[in-house]
């Protein structure tokens, strides 16, 4: 703990500046770019095995149309040339054209980004609020029945894959109770957001709750908490002011790291709830082996993943002086 306690506003400005410095530090930035280059190389190879043109047109197609498609997709070039073209095009913001619709992949992605972002952000807010709340309650009443119930429920939340949680949601709240519609987009009304949002939130919520609990218990065992109690401060004051603030540091990192993970989760959720975001586009593309579309969505997710993780790392360093000094 720092001895000086700067005013809240200046503290956050300080955090922001340090964060910015950490993210755009030249070495860090160069390395991130190098990693992104590797990511691009991986996405380049996302295509059906063998000859993609042949796979797309089927075994019966005549060799002229296969050759024509091969040329159109640039598959007649040697692989290194193809890769170079791919990187060049990416540099110009060109993610290629969808084979199924012949539209630029970027257009489809931009069109569908708001739906995915809405789902991801609302889930993350839900997961953070309830996750921290449940974690704090579990730590406050550690080893009581409420702790046991919260922790064992969260074990389920961690263990169940998103698509199973989604189906159970549909089954219980959509079909049996008929509380919420089980398929469709928010443009038909707010209730359409409820089930996909909760489904997507379950896993991060469980993880955040467990994380908050264990972090709280860690902090509560520290000497300075005992000191604060010995000074005569009330348990509530110590819990809220001294423990919670420090305990939330690792939680902040988890939250930001999980936001990235959520984007992958949206794929399955969008598929189940027929939510017209990037994930649904990706799954439709997988069914048709529309690989430029798959490449585009995977690349976008990876880039967002890298960006949020970079911010999360930097945030951790800013919030935790111990990490800052080490690095």
């Amino acid at each position: 703990m720092s001895t000086s306690n700067p005013a809240p506003a200046s503290r956050w400005i300080h955090v922001g500046v340090t964060l910015l410095r950490a993210v755009v530090a030249p070495r860090k930035l160069a390395y991130t770019l190098l990693v992104l280059l590797g990511v691009v190389m991986v996405t380049f190879f996302i295509r059906p095995p063998g000859d993609p043109a042949r796979v797309l047109l089927g075994q019966r197609a005549d060799s002229t149309s296969v050759a024509a498609l091969r040329q159109k997709l640039g598959l007649d070039q040697p692989v290194p040339i193809q890769m170079l073209r791919y990187v060049q095009n990416l540099g110009r913001g060109d993610l290629g054209r969808s084979i199924a619709t012949d539209r630029p992949v970027l257009d489809t992605i931009l069109e569908r980004l708001p739906a995915t972002a809405l789902l991801a952000v609302s889930s993350m807010i839900l997961a953070t609020l309830f996750g921290v709340l449940l974690g704090v309650i579990a730590a406050w009443k550690a080893n009581s029945w409420i702790d046991t119930v919260t922790m064992s429920t969260s074990l389920f939340g961690i263990s169940l894959p998103a698509f199973v949680v989604g189906l159970l949601m549909v089954l219980v709240f959509g079909v049996a109770l008929e509380w919420f519609p089980n398929s469709g987009y928010i443009d038909r009304g707010l209730p359409y957001l409820v089930l996909p949002m909760i489904t997507l939130a379950i896993r991060p919520l469980s993880i955040i709750a467990r994380m908050t609990r264990s972090s709280m218990l860690d902090v509560l065992g520290q000497d300075y908490i005992r000191t604060a109690r010995a000074k005569g401060l009330s348990y509530v004051a110590v819990f809220m002011k001294h423990a919670l603030r420090n305990a939330l540091n690792p939680v902040v990192t988890t939250v930001s790291a999980w936001f990235a993970g959520l984007l992958a989760g949206t794929y399955f959720i969008e598929y189940i709830f027929n939510w017209p975001g990037i994930g649904l586009a990706a799954f439709n593309a997988i069914e048709k082996l529309d690989y430029p579309m798959i490449q585009g969505t995977v690349l976008l997710t990876a880039v967002v993943f890298v960006a949020t993780n970079t911010v999360a790392d930097a945030l951790y360093a800013v919030l935790d002086p111990k990490v800052r000094i080490q690095s």
């Binding site: 992104l36 295509r47 079909v175 997988i286």
Partner: protein, 347 residues
């Protein structure tokens, strides 16, 4: 400290045994392994046997069937759904569930008398839309899930340990290259990477193992590298150098065993992730292909009925099976982590 000398493994086992959750996990896992191995003995049919007349039946359904010898596969007789039947001369006359009469030669039936070729088997969990026994497919699906977990983790361990060891031991540019690779793979959410590799490798059994395996080695590589970093400068490693041991011997005989604990814990967690990944893949139509049974595929098949509000079991049973497997693995993994590293047991 007791005066008796106990190996670290014995100590860990002692702690593990006191952990109720971990023990519950182990028992469930053992039962599952046993069930998967003994699948043909505990299931009434083969996982691909279709009895179309008995499609989409609820749990606990019993249906009358005749077994007919299958010349192409003597081990798995074909199954005929019947309403009732009578033996006259050398033939058996039967009516199918729709009431249509048929005749079959007695010699074509599998068995000597009606106690052998006729039965009213219990469809414990009902049937799917092809009239395949859900319980049978669930058990065989468990085989697939456990195999996927085992093989994909084997691949992940192999890549992770080798890359992690050489990065941690040699450091320098080798470490830089390995860490770059780790960071590249790290840049994709695991499930998405598995999907991507499945598109690259194509659909199928082996492709799924490999796709999951090559997506899940990074955690293992990082842990091994970290452990190697920590112990490389210790005296006993220096001693191996003084004794003139080769790098390989030092790495795998003297350094790796020290990293074994966290690696085992990670592999257990990875096993659970692999089960989830496999069923997610089959759920979206990649991965294990029909008619091979897989939990993800069964859930997808049942999903169509959920919207209709009928036959929930078709979704619930495979979901519950998967949840049980994953929770058992997580309980076991948590217990293992606490047992192997008592310092973190507060968490």
């Amino acid at each position: 400290m007791s005066t008796r000398r106990e190996t670290p493994t014995q100590l860990a086992w002692k702690r593990l045994r006191k952990n109720t959750g971990a023990m519950v996990g182990i028992v469930i896992l053992l039962l599952m392994v046993l069930g998967a191995v003994a699948a043909p003995l505990i299931t009434p049919f083969s996982p691909t046997t279709q009895i179309l007349e008995y499609a989409v039946q609820p749990a606990g359904f019993r249906g009358s069937v005749l077994y007919r010898t299958n010349p192409s596969n003597p081990g798995a007789p074909s199954v005929i759904a019947v309403q009732d039947f009578a033996v006259r001369g050398d033939s058996v006359y039967y009516t199918d569930p729709a009431g249509e009469p048929y005749r079959l030669a007695l010699t074509s039936l599998a068995g000597r008398d009606s106690t052998e070729w006729h039965a009213r088997p219990l469809f414990l969990l009902g049937t799917d839309r092809f009239g395949r026994d859900m319980f049978t497919r669930l058990v065989y699906g468990m085989r697939v899930s456990l195999t996927v977990g085992l093989i994909s983790q084997g691949i992940a361990l192999l890549i992770g340990i080798v890359l992690g060891s050489i990065a941690g031991y040699f450091r320098g540019w080798i470490d830089d290259v390995v860490m770059w690779l780790v960071n590249v793979v790290w840049s994709f959410p695991t499930l998405l990477l598995v999907v991507a590799f499945s598109v690259i490798l194509g659909k199928g059994y082996w492709q799924t193992f490999v796709a999951i395996g090559i997506s899940s080695w990074v955690d293992i590589a990082r842990i091994v590298r970290g452990q190697f970093f920590a112990i490389r400068e210790q005296e006993y490693i220096e001693a191996t150098r003084a004794l003139g041991y080769g790098s390989l011997r030092t790495m795998f005989r003297h350094m790796l065993p020290n990293a074994a604990g966290p690696v085992v814990v990670l592999a257990t967690a990875g096993f659970a992730t692999a089960i989830i990944a496999e069923s997610s893949l089959s759920f979206i139509g990649l991965g294990v292909q029909p008619p091979d049974p897989s939990w993800g595929q069964m859930i997808k098949d049942g999903y169509g009925y959920i919207a209709l509000g009928t036959n929930w079991g078709m979704t619930l049973f495979p979901s519950a099976a998967m949840a049980t497997a994953v929770i058992a693995l997580n309980l076991f993994g948590d217990g293992l982590r606490d047992a192997l590293d008592p310092k973190t047991s507060q968490r």
